[in-house]
Symmetry: C2
Subunit: 140 residues, 2 copies
């Protein structure tokens, strides 16, 4: 997995530093978009400083190795780009009751047709609803 991270950095012409490799590895382990805080938590006491985490994430976004996910709440979430299509991320579902977010892999919507002269870089879908767990709870 570390090899994988190193490879990603090399392919994007980014220097291979400890913090970057650690952050990428932490994101590989996650199966949903993560926040700065979750990354730090995951890496434990040797986690990089939060400034470094934010700066790294923003660099990775710029290089298109990572995408920012648009999710309810005030906190930014990020995920590795390699499960996303070229112009479209997989949808994200947020339960409006338990507030958990999860990816909905393997599905996508047709790309929206933009007005004349506009170029699409990326289309993202966010869904709000009730997850099956909460739905069952409500039934009782």
């Amino acid at each position: 997995m570390k090899q994988n991270a190193v490879e990603l950095l090399r392919s994007s012409n980014l220097r291979q530093t400890g913090p970057r490799i650690a952050i990428l590895m932490a994101m590989m382990k996650a199966n949903a978009p993560v926040t700065q805080e979750q990354i730090a938590e995951q890496l434990g006491p040797l986690a990089p400083n939060k400034t470094t985490i934010y700066r790294t994430l923003m660099n990775l976004v710029k290089k298109n190795l990572v995408h920012k996910a648009y999710i309810e709440g005030r906190t930014w979430h990020f995920e590795l780009a390699h499960h996303c299509g070229q112009h479209q991320c997989h949808p994200h579902f947020t339960c409006s009751q338990c507030l958990q977010t999860r990816c909905i892999p393997g599905v996508s919507a047709p790309l929206i047709k933009l007005p004349e002269g506009f170029t699409m870089h990326r289309q993202q879908i966010r869904i709000e609803g009730l997850c099956s767990v909460c739905r069952n709870k409500n039934r009782r």
Copy 2:
């Protein structure tokens, strides 16, 4: 227009107060999602306190008269629900160069099929790209 705002409040069983009517009217004038600050600015010196604006917006969201739009940046944007479909808002386009956001009215994507047991309340689409103005600027 004021009548319209009053009607919205009545139909949702909300008390008709000055701040609420003013905020709804400000949103009716806008043709893209607005922030608390933009609402205050629009209403000028007699704008309600920012706490009131936030609280009002959150109430209106709860009543489904207003939706929160998911847009790049740290600031919340809101728009009236009456241009949105029942389970889907119109897409929002943000230019990654000038950062302006605009609505793309009249188009939508098929609703994503959720996993068994999940219920959809609302699907929202966010597109990032280059608007025609910026694209032309880059050409030169």
